[in-house]
């Protein structure tokens, strides 16, 4: 794997509090990697170390094979706590931020204008930032992260504050960046968007990664074998099926097979019993369910009442 981000056994402490405790992951070029976890899980600390804003207390972080402080110009960053100079004119500000990323002023101006056009903000280039809507400011900050064409992007909550149209725009953008071979590390509490985008996820809780891998593999790993069954004309479920539990919800039956019973054996039992099967589907858990189960498995705790958040 051609890793553009390498995090190995990262530790970050604040006094006696350990915010990040031995976190390891890699992001490859052309890969979208999602870092997910609740508030205080250690995501922001991890990202700040990655961006060279904080120094690690242990472990190692490399960006494109370099220490983060040397790779600043190779990374585009959209922080979670976002903001721009309110009194600055949009284009002037973007040129300044581009210059800080190593672009020459004329080149920064050319690129900023091109990105503003792509995001439909050309008419706002000479306006002051405080005149822009929240969504426009979000897009302006994405421009700041992208205009120097970095091979690595770190997007913290990229969908926050965007309307559905702009969410689609950002999703397409991330897909394009992946297609261009860029490595994208993103976090979002809107898991439905992450599910559609991420090639690999790391679930982090209390400073430790509790599950990590390609999304489909994690779903299979944390699947309990639930089966959704649709019967014609709402026929009753035949008795004596090899299942532990059966629940009717929204016109479907949700079955949990007995231990060591495969979905194929359940289907055979249904057909043998003459049930009019119209739909049969193995149900895989959502990303949120994967997270909750991973936390339960690794620490025995439950996450009830906690918001699962990137």
């Amino acid at each position: 794997m051609n890793a553009v981000v390498e995090v190995r056994h990262l530790v970050k402490r604040y006094g006696n509090f350990t915010a990040v405790d031995g976190v390891s992951f890699e992001v490859a070029a052309g890969q979208v990697f999602a870092l997910l976890g609740p508030n205080g899980a250690g995501k922001t600390s991890t990202i700040r170390v990655l961006m060279g804003i904080l120094y690690p207390d242990g472990g190692e972080v490399r960006l494109l094979g370099m220490p983060p402080q040397e790779a600043r110009e190779q990374v585009g960053y959209l922080p979670e706590a976002r903001g721009l100079y309110r009194e600055a004119r949009l284009l002037e500000l973007l040129v300044y931020l581009g210059a800080l990323k190593g672009l020459r002023t004329a080149e920064a101006r050319r690129r900023a204008l091109a990105w503003l056009e792509r995001f439909g903000l050309s008419e706002w280039a000479e306006r002051k930032v405080h005149e822009l809507s929240h969504g426009m400011q979000q897009k302006a900050q994405l421009v700041a992260a992208l205009m120097h064409d970095p091979p690595v992007l770190v997007l913290d909550e990229p969908f926050q504050g965007l309307d559905p149209v702009n969410i689609q725009l950002v999703k397409r953008l991330v897909a394009d960046l992946r297609a261009e071979g860029k490595g994208v590390l993103l976090s979002s509490h809107q898991l439905v968007h992450v599910e559609a985008l991420a090639d690999e996820v790391a679930l982090i809780n209390r400073g430790r990664i509790v599950a990590q891998g390609p999304l489909e593999a994690l779903r299979r790993q944390y699947a309990r074998g639930d089966i959704a069954v649709g019967l014609a004309e709402r026929a009753p479920l035949p008795p004596q099926l090899p299942v532990q539990k059966a629940e009717a919800r929204h016109g479907l039956w949700y079955l949990l097979p007995e231990a060591d019973v495969t979905p194929q054996e359940v289907l055979r039992a249904l057909v043998d019993a003459g049930a009019p099967v119209e739909r049969f589907e193995v149900v895989y858990p959502s990303l949120e369910e994967v997270f909750l189960r991973a936390v339960e498995e690794t620490s025995g705790e439950t996450m009830a009442g906690e918001e699962v958040q990137a």
């Binding site: 904080l54 600043r72 960053y77 976002r82 300044y96 931020l97 800080l100 900050q141």
Partner: protein, 415 residues
């Protein structure tokens, strides 16, 4: 440190702060105000005595109630004195502005005893009356020996030219000129220093408040950001001082041509043309070091608050201490080498204004100036040490404003 990034930050800070209304108003408004004032004075000069508008009419008569009989009634009083008998009436007339003052010489007066002077208003009037009174009493003594005419001539006060021995072996300066130039410089530099240090604080506080700080720190180090700001705003202060000095020179030259016979203006311009070497040391060495001291401290403390209001609470203490010499400026005028002026010029936070005020008020020994400069340099180094540490941690601090104890802990151990 990436100097190109430092340069970009400096240019951005200079440009954005130069366009502030407050900065433009103070920098260019002051000279414009001066020009308008001069124009107004020039227009008034044709119709009235402009000097009298400032000091009041000092040529009015002074009422004298001679209860001791020093001047027999058949002997005329020298100008500007006029004899009065009814003190209550004379007081009323003085209040009404008919007399510059009322002097009461009590019965049985002997040299050295108390004389009461009632003045309507103004220090200038008081000073003029004291001079005239000394001449009058001298005249009273002399007329016992000489003829009244000769006694009057002998009692006339001389026109004194007060010359201050300069810092070099050959330099001699007019005391008034030195005071005017030194005081104006100290005042202008104080405003320029604190307005630019204040902009530095505002700039940092606003970056934290608007949450752009994290974006900036993903592009450059906190040290690069800090130095960019410090240099950009130093250039801003330099621009301000240059505009003020050039416009003061132009206005001064114009004022001399309007009032060719007003010696004080010529004196001030002559002093400005050949400034004392000690003043040059203060401007070229002490002022940049002082800007570093205040600027770095302001940036460090400004980074600790989560908004501008909180940051200003931290910086208020620094500003108050720095303004202390101006609060006790009379001590500097009385004796620039006194204990209090000397102590204040050795303490880094008060030293910049204290040194300039001392230099405005008189000559100070070179070793004294060297010691003060050394202390200011040490202060700048301390500020560099503390300011950078505070800034590095402060830019990432959010939530509750740290206490002074926590601030001290950060300075000692910023990791």
């Amino acid at each position: 440190m990436n100097l190109r990034k430092v340069f970009h930050v400096a240019v951005y800070e200079y440009r954005t702060n130069f366009r502030r209304w407050g900065y433009l108003l103070v920098t260019f408004g002051l000279p414009v105000f001066g020009a308008l004032l001069l124009w107004g004075v020039q227009a008034l000069k044709a119709h009235t005595d402009v000097g009298a508008l400032v000091t009041g009419d000092l040529n009015k008569p002074i009422a004298l109630a001679d209860q001791a009989g020093l001047f027999p009634s058949d002997v005329g009083l020298p100008k500007p004195f006029v004899r009065v008998r009814d003190i209550a009436q004379a007081k009323t007339a003085t209040r009404a502005g008919d007399y510059l003052a009322l002097v009461v010489i009590p019965p049985g007066y002997a040299p050295g005893q108390k004389v009461t002077v009632f003045i309507g208003s103004g220090i200038a009037a008081g000073s003029k009356v004291l001079t005239e009174l000394q001449a009058l009493l001298l005249y009273a003594a002399l007329q016992k020996v000489y003829s009244p005419e000769k006694a009057r001539r002998l009692a006339e006060m001389p026109n004194v030219d007060l010359v201050l021995l300069g810092s070099s072996a050959t330099s001699e300066e007019n005391s008034n000129g030195r005071f005017a130039v030194g005081y104006a410089l100290s005042f202008l530099f104080f405003i320029a220093l604190f307005s630019s240090a204040g902009y530095l604080l505002q700039s940092v506080a606003k970056e934290k408040e608007s949450h752009i700080m994290e974006l900036l720190l993903s592009s450059l180090t906190s040290l690069e950001l800090l130095w960019g700001k410090v240099l950009g705003l130093a250039a801003l202060a330099l621009t301000q001082v240059t505009v003020w000095l050039v416009s003061m020179w132009l206005l001064g030259t114009q004022a001399v041509s309007i009032f060719p016979r007003y010696d004080a203006l010529q004196t001030v311009l002559a002093q400005a043309r050949h400034p004392d070497p000690q003043l040059l040391v203060a401007v070229v060495i002490i002022m940049p070091l002082s800007y570093l001291t205040y600027g770095l401290l302001m940036a460090g403390l400004g980074s600790l608050g989560s908004n501008l209001r909180e940051s200003q609470q931290f910086s208020a203490a620094i500003s108050l201490i720095a303004a202390l010499p101006f609060m006790v400026n009379f001590l500097f005028f009385l004796n620039p080498n006194g204990v209090v002026p000397r102590v204040l010029s050795y303490f880094p936070l008060t030293a910049p204004s204290a040194v300039l005020l001392r230099l405005a008020s008189g000559q100070i020994p070179w070793w004294d100036l060297d010691a003060a400069t050394l202390m200011i340099a040490l202060g700048a180094l301390l500020s560099l040490w503390a300011g950078v540490r505070l800034f590095r941690v402060g830019v990432l601090v959010s939530g509750k404003k740290p206490s002074w104890r926590e601030v001290w802990r950060i300075v000692r151990n910023p990791a």
